[in-house]
């Protein structure tokens, strides 16, 4: 089979010259990246390099100081906030785009007052306006898929971190997202629970989902990612095929980073 032509497939996410400052502290200093449909991008980098900020700018949990975010070719409209910065011009557009990007958080952030099933059907019913029956049916499939059918009536506080993160992944899949955003999904887990979560994420990667994944699990990133992005102090210092990047890192910083985490 001919290899898929990269230029032909649709850009699911496009980030153009993204800057983000917190007060006077510039955390992202001009980041551009694109995720094609079906592509898995892993973002690596040291603590404080801006990985989470980058991911959170994509769905506007953080407002970029400047730059453009496009989802499936549609740019998120921004306007001046009157204080020299910018803010989303159209809240409705932001909400609509957010329902197409599903985020999985380091600390799961499941809603503690709802059991797992209710966590999974919450957004389909109350944001997407699906019928309860439809949402329940799909939630069933998803909970089965992440191995939590038996726990559907349990509240998050009763579950292990690994189970909570798998439930959070089911919640993300329930909106049938175009892109999955993972922010260090295994960093808050006990070592023995990391495997079960990575195996779910690995399956998703292999079935052709578009994903942007911030991770410290280098071996996993190498296995599942199509592209690795190395972020250092707010700029993309190196980017490319996992094998090339890990086996023959060019920049000193990446060399140092790889030897520090492996």
């Amino acid at each position: 089979m001919a290899p898929a032509n990269r230029e032909d497939s649709v850009k699911a996410i496009e980030v153009i010259d993204l800057h983000k400052s917190f007060d006077s502290d510039e955390v992202l200093k001009g980041v551009s990246l694109e995720a094609r449909q079906g592509e898995v991008i892993a973002i690596i980098g040291g603590s404080g390099s801006g990985k989470s900020t980058l991911l959170r700018c994509i769905n506007m949990l953080e407002t970029p100081s400047s730059g453009t975010i496009k989802v499936n070719g549609e740019a998120i409209e921004m306007k001046s906030d009157g204080r020299g910065g910018q803010k989303p011009a159209n809240r409705q557009q932001v909400r609509r785009i957010r329902t197409r990007l599903a985020m999985v958080f380091q600390n799961f952030n499941l809603w503690q007052h709802m059991n797992l099933l209710d966590n999974v059907i919450e957004v389909p019913i109350h944001v997407l306006g699906r019928s309860r029956a439809e949402a329940l049916e799909y939630a069933d499939t998803l909970l089965k898929r992440v191995g939590l059918s038996e726990k559907r009536a349990a509240y998050p506080a009763f579950l292990s971190g690994g189970q909570q993160q798998r439930a959070a992944i089911a919640r993300a899949l329930a909106i049938q997202p175009e892109v999955l955003l993972f922010d260090e999904p295994t960093s808050a887990l006990d070592p023995e629970l990391i495997g079960e979560v990575l195996s779910v994420i690995g399956d998703l990667a292999r079935e052709g989902r578009t994903m942007i994944l911030v991770t410290h699990e280098m071996k996993f990133a190498r296995d599942v990612a199509d592209t690795i992005i190395f972020l250092n102090e707010g700029i993309i210092e190196e980017e490319g095929d996992p094998k090339a990047l890990f086996d023959a890192p060019k920049s000193e910083n990446l060399k140092r980073f790889i030897s520090s985490v492996t």
Binding site: N59, L61, R95, R96, I97, R98, T99, A102, M103, F105, N107, N109, L110, W111, Q112, H113, E122, V123, H126, V127, Y155, P156, A157, F158, I175
Partner: protein, 256 residues
């Protein structure tokens, strides 16, 4: 159930039983049938006041707490001022200010005296209701402020990240989550509210305590009516505790 069979519990139970038997045999209870109607009315009034003022007060407490967390600043300031004023003054004073203050103000306006509300405003209970409601709102507003502020930011962020509107976040996530956090405190506040209700007897509302006073004045029996009424308050407290702990146990929560 075996939780009742621990030695110290058995001793306490026997002592309680002995007290009841002693009270039943040696004290004077013949007035009870004569006053049963009045007693029931008083108990009913206590319960009705408790439930309505807690419910209405809580409805007020939600915005009082929320605005203190979300702003805008002037509104937050006003809400905080209200809660501080309520919590910083005796309920008895508030009750009298409202009853004697509003009560003497209203008749000066012919519009009010002519309105359909006048037959109610001439009675004492609307002032009791208002005053107890505001008091509960003041205390609970402070509790809800803490509860709203304490909901883990990540859970709210997740709601926003999935495209929820702000009102939906409030209705589906923030408020229920805050109430859950506030439940244990709420329970205590409801019990305190119950024990505040006798104050309304001072503005001629006939509730449980007022009934015992009447009985005392008419029969010159002092202790028995007071004992009976204490028992009633204890039972009401127990019922409230049972109801709340049912809900508290239902949804266990880890706060990060």
């Amino acid at each position: 159930m075996n939780i009742w069979l621990k030695p110290h519990r058995i001793v306490l139970l026997l002592m309680a039983l002995a007290l009841v038997v002693y009270a039943g045999l040696s004290m004077q209870w013949d007035w009870v049938p004569r006053y049963s109607g009045l007693l029931l009315h008083g108990i009913w009034m206590t319960i009705a006041l408790l439930i309505t003022t807690c419910a209405l007060g809580f409805l007020l407490a939600v915005p009082l707490g929320l605005f203190q967390v979300t702003g805008p600043k002037p509104l937050a300031f006003a809400c905080r001022g209200f809660c501080t004023a309520i919590r910083g003054t005796p309920l008895l004073l508030q009750l009298w200010l409202i009853y004697f203050g509003l009560g003497s103000l209203f008749p000066q306006f012919p519009e009010i005296m002519d309105s359909f509300l006048w037959p109610y405003l001439r009675q004492a209970w609307p002032y009791a209701l208002l005053s107890l409601t505001l008091s509960f709102a003041g205390y609970e507003g402070e509790v809800m402020r803490g509860a709203f502020a304490g909901v883990p930011a990540g859970e709210l962020e997740a709601a926003h990240a999935y495209g929820m509107k702000r009102m939906t976040v409030l209705r589906r996530i923030w408020l229920p989550r805050a109430i859950l956090r506030a439940l244990p405190t709420l329970n205590g506040e409801v019990v305190l509210q119950l024990k505040s209700t006798p104050l309304v007897a001072t503005i001629t509302v006939v509730e449980s305590y007022a009934v015992t006073s009447t009985i005392r004045q008419e029969t010159f029996i002092i202790y028995e009516p007071l004992l009976l009424i204490s028992l009633i308050y204890m039972v009401l407290t127990a019922i409230s505790v049972v109801i709340f702990s049912y809900f508290e146990k239902k949804v266990p929560v880890h706060d990060v």
